[in-house]
């Protein structure tokens, strides 16, 4: 009971803090959206258009900051996120909903893949400690994880798209293709996801390998693993059911966090690959001072993290009977 209350308090406090930060931060920035928009046009716009935009965006409608803040809280609560300035005059919710599936699909799926692959490699590495598998894969991936993501992405675009021409150099699907649930389109999407996906996995897998390997090594020294060997269980069963299952538990909470960070991690990926997801949108929102869009994205990311943590909490309880008892 106390546990549930604590969790609840934590969620509310986090959400509120995030929303507040996210309200005030952009407002501290100089300039206004109309000016930001002008800047983007590289002088092609007539100077008078600035006035027109200021009127359209309503940026000069002066209201006290506090009033704006409460209006913002109220509107957020009922799912009113306003109109995007970058994608004027589209409603923010539509813009975000259009972009979210792509990000979740690409970055979300690859994060899950990276987690499972990394966990697997860490597990097998620890199991085969000192063997060739363990001496090669973990160190290589751990060093790779310190590489700048965008750089690996750029180099792989150069090699696989531009030089070899094997894979598309960006986008979520072929331009002009009709978005549908047909096999050709899905195939098209998958082909487009290979390069960004693989680069994400390559650069993010190291962390999982490291923690899983360390946990696994600790777990392998536990008496119950020795006990499992003593019982004559098959190595696979010991590795997965006895050592692995226990070793993965500490990793789960990290996984919850990272699932939520999918959205933020997407920024560079989508920037490099012209991927039409929320990460790129975030960057645009910041550059264009698109408060409504920025705030909604922030909110969504925060909510995503919280939801992911909630989900992971639930999974942890399923996997680890002790947590249920502790609460």
């Amino acid at each position: 009971m106390r546990y549930v209350l604590r969790r609840l308090g934590f969620f509310v406090a986090t959400l509120w803090t995030a929303m507040t930060v996210n309200f005030f931060l952009p407002r501290l920035m100089p300039g206004n959206p109309a000016i930001a928009m002008m800047a983007r046009f590289h002088g092609k716009l007539n100077g008078q258009a600035l006035r027109a935009m200021e009127v359209a965006f309503g940026v000069n409608a002066q209201e006290s900051l506090l009033a704006q803040y409460f209006a913002y809280l109220r509107n957020s609560a009922v799912g009113h996120f306003g109109t995007s300035l970058t994608f004027f005059p589209q409603p923010v919710s539509g813009v975000v909903l259009g972009a979210l599936p792509w990000t979740l699909g690409l970055v979300g799926v690859t994060t899950v893949i990276a987690f499972f692959l990394g966990t697997l490699i860490g597990m097998v590495g620890a199991w085969e400690r000192g063997g060739w598998f363990d001496s090669i894969l973990p160190p290589v991936f751990i060093v790779l994880s310190a590489f700048p993501y965008f750089w690996i992405a750029l180099v792989s675009i150069l090699i696989f798209s531009i030089s070899l021409g094997w894979l598309p150099l960006g986008f979520a699907y072929t331009n002009g293709a009709r978005i549908s649930l047909s096999w050709p389109f899905i195939g098209d999407v998958l082909v487009h996801a290979i390069l960004p996906g693989v680069t994400i996995v390559i650069t993010s897998i190291g962390g999982w390998i490291l923690t899983m390997r360390n946990n696994m090594i600790m777990t392998l020294a536990e008496d119950y693993v020795r006990m499992a060997r003593a019982k004559g269980l098959s190595p696979l069963r010991i590795m997965i059911d006895y050592a692995g299952r226990n070793a993965i538990l500490p990793n789960l909470s990290g996984f919850g966090m990272s699932l939520g960070f999918v959205v933020s991690g997407a920024i560079l990926v989508e920037y490099v690959f012209s991927y039409p997801g929320v990460g790129y949108m975030m960057l645009q929102a910041v550059l264009n001072e698109d408060y409504p869009l920025m705030q909604t994205l922030f909110l969504i990311i925060t909510l995503a993290v919280l939801l992911a943590i909630l989900a992971v909490d639930a999974i942890t309880v399923l996997l680890d009977p002790r947590t249920a008892a502790a609460s």
Partner: protein
């Protein structure tokens, strides 16, 4: 049958034989042994060597590559040659010079941001772990909130806001968004230390709380603090590079991230000047890699259970 107990220890000091500090160096919790430990670990050695090279580059770039990194002095777009080992940029700057000078900014960001966020982590994490009840609750909540608030977008926003502030702002941003993870780890560690009798002993001795934290708890966490510092440094290197790459840093600084920004803007990879992008990219990667390797190895050093098993070689006579 019985003879004089030739080597019997004096009765007053029964444990003397075992008291010789023979196994002292097998323990690594004492910072003094750190260097030795690093030397004995291959991964740590590799990381330390790389780091040493970068440190030299950062300290005396002028010795390795005399000349101003930003000066547009040479014919633009040259390939690698004896005069320009990495060629020149589209603006006629020497890429090698830029590369060497760029180490400094990246290293400074890594070290300073790493240190500051470790400091903040330690302050908040240790206080939360050691102080009871409400203090812990509030500090933990703050930590969690900072963990949850999406860091990179926050970084982007702050960086965009504080444009032109240079490295100081980037570092501030990295610290603000980077400390929470470490604080949480440190808190957990303190919680496990909290009920150790030596802390009770210190309290019973009459030590004040601050002194207990500073001189009894913190020294016990050196390995975690070091790991934390290394992790925070990698985070700083990568995030700063990412920021500079998307153009949110100060584009006039001499850093690898900025070099990449310029290279990317001039499409160095496609335009036949791949070294312009490859060199700083590798620089960041290797610097990050050096920290990562050190960290990886440090896990092994500070946690004996993780030490590598060298399958062969140690087998003795039988």
């Amino acid at each position: 049958m019985s003879s004089a107990p030739a080597s019997a220890p004096p009765a007053s000091n029964p444990e003397a034989p075992a008291a010789r500090p023979t196994r002292a160096r097998a323990r690594f919790s004492v910072p003094g042994n750190l260097g030795r430990a690093v030397l004995s670990n291959r991964k740590a050695m590799a990381g330390a060597t790389l780091l040493a090279i970068f440190v030299v580059m950062a300290l005396v770039p002028g010795l390795i590559a005399p000349g101003a990194p930003g000066a547009e002095l040479y014919p633009p777009g040259q390939g690698a040659s004896f005069a320009h080992p990495l060629g020149t940029t589209s603006y006629g700057q020497d890429i090698f010079t830029q590369f060497i000078w760029g180490a400094r900014a990246s290293l400074i960001i890594a070290v300073v941001a790493g240190l500051l966020s470790t400091l903040l982590s330690a302050l908040i994490g240790v206080s939360a772990g050691y102080l009871p009840g409400a203090t812990d609750g509030i500090l933990s909540l703050i930590t969690d909130v900072f963990l949850i608030i999406p860091a990179f977008p926050l970084v982007v926003v702050i960086a965009a806001y504080s444009k032109g502030g240079g490295n100081a702002t980037i570092i501030a941003v990295l610290v603000v968004t980077g400390w929470a993870y470490g604080a949480r780890q440190l808190r957990a560690q303190v919680l496990s230390l909290r009920n150790r009798d030596f802390l009770v002993a210190a309290k019973l001795r009459g030590e004040r709380t601050l002194r207990i934290i500073v001189s009894e708890i913190l020294p016990n966490m050196t390995s975690l603090l070091v790991a934390n510092f290394l992790g925070a440094s990698v985070y700083a290197i990568l995030t700063a590079a990412g920021l500079q790459f998307v153009g949110l840093g100060n584009v006039n600084t001499d850093s690898w991230g900025t070099m990449l920004y310029w290279a990317q803007n001039n499409e160095a990879l496609q335009a036949g000047l791949p070294l312009w992008a490859v060199a700083p990219g590798l620089g960041i990667a290797l610097l990050g890699g050096a920290f990562a390797l050190l960290n990886y190895a440090f896990d092994e050093i500070s946690n004996p259970a993780l030490r590598p098993v060298r399958g062969r070689g140690a087998r003795s006579d039988s």
